[in-house]
């Protein structure tokens, strides 16, 4: 990855135009040819630097639901509980964090009702209390990381 790649990533994290020749438009902005931009983007996707190039949807407006939840897992049950929680297709992310509440995961479902069903199922299968922390307000949506 060189400076041009970094410039491409930083620019495309901010957005991508909806018009008939969007790559040409972005390429001009970056001082590249359309072909060079397309080739570099394809390489970044092929080598795994970028996971995806496309739309970011608003889950709730799509009718779906999301929540953040956490459990206190006894250290000797970490592997077992991780396996149970990760097996749920509704669990999108799961991270160990340095706190008594040591496992934090995001649940994403098609409907709000499925959130509580999933939380209950996780409690039943793990025997642990799940702390549910749905968002009340969101102040920022653009996840941007400078490359």
């Amino acid at each position: 990855m060189d400076d041009i790649d970094r410039h491409i990533i930083n620019t495309l994290q901010a957005g991508f135009p909806v018009c008939d020749a969007p790559y040409q438009q972005v390429a001009m902005q970056l001082g590249l040819t359309e072909q060079a931009l397309i080739e570099r983007l394809q390489t970044l996707l092929n080598n795994g630097t970028l996971t995806r190039f496309g739309p970011l949807y608003h889950a709730e407006l799509m009718g779906g639901a999301l929540t953040l939840a956490a459990v206190k897992t006894p250290l000797d049950r970490l592997a077992e509980v991780t396996e149970i929680i990760n097996a749920f297709p509704e669990v999108a992310h799961n991270y160990a964090r340095n706190h008594a509440l040591n496992m934090w995961f995001v649940i994403a479902t098609e409907t709000p009702e499925e959130i509580s069903r999933t939380l209950t199922a996780i409690e039943q299968q793990t025997g642990l209390t799940v702390v549910n922390m749905p968002k009340i307000n969101e102040y920022f949506v653009g996840l941007k990381l400078e490359a």
Binding site: H58, L68, H93, N98
Partner: protein, 166 residues
């Protein structure tokens, strides 16, 4: 609201846009939809906020962002909105939410910082505390120790919808 054609379009592009000179025309060919209609529908879906944005989704680890911190504060209820907006102005704050307090969990304001190392993140936290008048408020910083699971965003009109950090 979404009609059947919108849903087909959203499903078609969810895994990614074609990387070729006329990507929207190519999507249209697959769906038997004129390019102009693809552009019109996508523009509208963006305006309605169903598509938050188009662009790249990076693997933060690949870019050297190895310190992923969730920082939480217990702030007075009447200040949450103002502070949330203030925090989200900082370029290194990647997500910012108000969430309910819980038993044994007094925090109601959450933000994420994806940093290259812990030292940088701690300095950024100091900057937030100083600039947003958060010094002295109860807070906690939870670094991620291990990522057990991270799957990409999925949208299947007939099945499940998922995204970002909730």
């Amino acid at each position: 609201m979404l009609d059947a054609r919108d849903r087909q379009l959203l499903e078609q592009i969810q895994t990614g846009l074609p990387v070729c000179p006329r990507p929207y025309a190519e999507i249209g060919t697959t769906l038997a939809m004129p390019e102009a209609e693809v552009l019109e529908r996508l523009t509208q879906l963006k305006q309605q906020g169903l598509i938050k944005r188009m662009g790249v989704i990076v693997k933060h680890h690949q870019l050297g962002y190895r310190a992923n911190a969730m920082i939480v504060w217990n702030v007075p209820d009447n200040l949450v909105k103002q502070l949330g907006r203030q925090l989200s102005q900082f370029a290194f704050v990647t997500l910012c939410y108000q969430r309910p307090r819980q038993a044994e969990w007094p925090y109601n304001l959450f933000c994420m910082i994806h940093g290259k190392d812990r030292e940088t993140v701690l300095k950024q936290l100091e900057q937030l505390n100083a600039n947003c008048d958060l010094v002295g408020l109860e807070h906690n910083i939870l670094f991620s120790r291990r990522c057990f699971k991270q799957r990409g965003a999925v949208y299947q009109p007939t099945n499940t919808t998922s995204l970002t950090h909730g």
